[in-house]
Amino acid sequence: MLRSALSAIVRSLPASTVEAHCDGPCGVYDPASARVHAEAVLAMTKKLKALEAPASAADHHAALNTFARFVAVKEDEAQKTKNELLILWTDYFKPEHLATFPDLHDTFWKAAKLCSACKVHIDQGKAEELLAAVEKIHGMFWQSKGRSDAWVTAS
């Protein structure tokens, strides 16, 4: 009874909040996801630029089909890159990180714009710029965690 009364007193007092939860719904963030998709954008851009005109009318439809498939994959991968970047930008990074990375918003904004440019054009330069932007974000991310994980690409 005494214990219950004491608990009631403690519960009635003003209390500050102390958090016992994770930073995100799962707490798992990794710029590697964005890197894989950005690499795919660059790879598809290179494949598109390497396409040759069909040698004959008979090859025309096959060539169109290949071109359309490559463009569709490039479009899809660029959008996936943007999605992954937005998750890092809006969920992982917090206002406190701006003190360390004052160009954080500009970096993400430009990277997201590059995703769009890679969808609109077949531009290897833009695709390489996108991968470089993701590499910069990779560096910021791991620095924010006090780590210096190496930038390793799949291709």
Binding site: S7, V10, L13, A20, H21, C22, E96
Partner: protein, 113 residues
């Protein structure tokens, strides 16, 4: 005793949010915290402690002290699936330590939303 110290301003009451310390602590539980400073002796391994979030200094987190190495603390939640802790942050500086939980006023389960 802790209640007396509480009224003397030597203890703080904090309310738990989240499930990372489940089943030891659940949301809305109240804990009485003994404040610690840089010169205080570190709590024993296994103690529940309150720290400054190592990446977001405006936040306070409650975890269990798992290991101390070179004035760096490894802190873990009792419920790993619902916890962000030293598995993501790495070891945190001793300077982040705010206090040690010395008593718990549990909230009835039916009041936990």
């Amino acid at each position: 005793m802790d209640l007396l110290l509480l009224f003397c301003g030597r203890r703080r009451v904090m309310q738990v949010e989240g499930y990372s310390m489940w089943p030891t602590l659940k949301p809305k539980d109240r804990v009485i915290v003994r404040p610690l400073n840089q010169h205080s002796e570190l709590p024993a391994i296994g103690s529940i402690i309150v720290c400054i979030h190592p990446q977001q200094p405006s936040r306070r987190v409650i975890k269990r002290l798992s290991c101390v190495t070179d004035n760096q603390l490894t802190i873990l939640g009792d419920c790993p699936d619902a916890s962000t802790d030293s598995r993501q942050w790495g070891r945190i500086p001793k300077g982040c330590l705010i206090g040690e939980v010395v008593a718990l006023a549990s909230t009835p389960l039916e009041q936990v939303s």
